[in-house]
């Protein structure tokens, strides 16, 4: 139940915000120094960071939850206990991977 809603919310977030950021980033890159400076400025302030961290989480959540759905498409993993464990694993792993990626990106761990 929660796993399904999170799959949709993270998917919608990636579709709308994620693709908008990707497109803006590419357009800024193609435009040269000034548009790109504007993008990096927006991306590195606190609001931009929250959006990027949120997108990273949405990516991992949707990615792992998507793998779960692909496994379930084969007819496997429907037993209640297995299914719940798989869903919990997805939630935990998405948060851990997001934290690990940003710790690495911000130079907290090398």
């Amino acid at each position: 139940m929660a796993a399904s809603i999170f799959h949709r919310v993270s998917g919608a977030g990636l579709s709308i915000v994620g693709l908008a950021v990707l497109t803006w980033w590419l357009v800024a890159l193609s435009g040269g120094p000034e548009p790109y400076a504007l993008f990096t400025k927006a991306a590195s302030n606190i609001f931009g960071r929250i959006v990027l961290i949120g997108l990273t989480w949405a990516f991992f959540q949707h990615f792992l939850s998507g793998v779960r759905h692909l496994v379930m498409d084969t007819g496997a993993g429907f037993e209640l206990r297995t299914n719940n464990r798989f869903a919990m694993l997805v939630f935990v792993a998405a948060v851990v991977l997001t934290a690990a990626l940003w710790a690495y990106a911000l130079g907290v761990v090398k």
Binding site: A12, S15, A20, L26, S30, G32
Partner: protein, 131 residues
């Protein structure tokens, strides 16, 4: 006669309101999702492994075929998968037929427009325009 025990399983499915389409949409969503597993890992790994994220480094990265081609695929497959996924959400939650049609049209236009813009920007970088 109602659609009941005398009909075949396929006939029952048809009688129970299949729109006679959707199978391809469902399958495309899965196929693009598998492609995006690979392209998503590629994007994140690339951004983490690049020595810097400045204009010059990123420009060189996207001018090489090893950067430009996966990025073009990511844009195409990403926008397609987003469109397919958002359509499912719209179809599930918007019950009025007119609103549903209008919203799906808006989604299609945004996906096509956004995808074209992203591809154009990539081409401009890859073929060495302003960058």
């Amino acid at each position: 006669m109602s659609v009941g025990e005398s009909s075949t399983p396929l006939g029952r499915v048809r009688g129970l309101g299949s729109a006679r389409e959707g199978g391809e949409h469902w399958l495309t969503e899965r196929v693009t999702s598998i492609a995006l597993l690979l392209l998503g890992i590629w994007l994140i790994a690339s951004l983490l492994l690049l020595p810097a994220l400045d204009l010059r480094t990123l420009g060189e990265w996207l001018q090489a075929p090893s950067g430009a081609v996966p990025m073009a695929l990511l844009i195409l497959v990403g926008f397609k998968h987003a469109l397919d996924g958002m359509k499912v959400v719209v179809d599930d939650y918007v019950h009025d037929e007119g609103n549903r049609f209008a919203l799906n049209l808006v989604l299609l236009f945004f996906a096509a427009g956004g995808g074209a813009l992203a591809l154009f920007a990539l081409a401009r970088i890859a073929f060495g325009g302003a960058a």
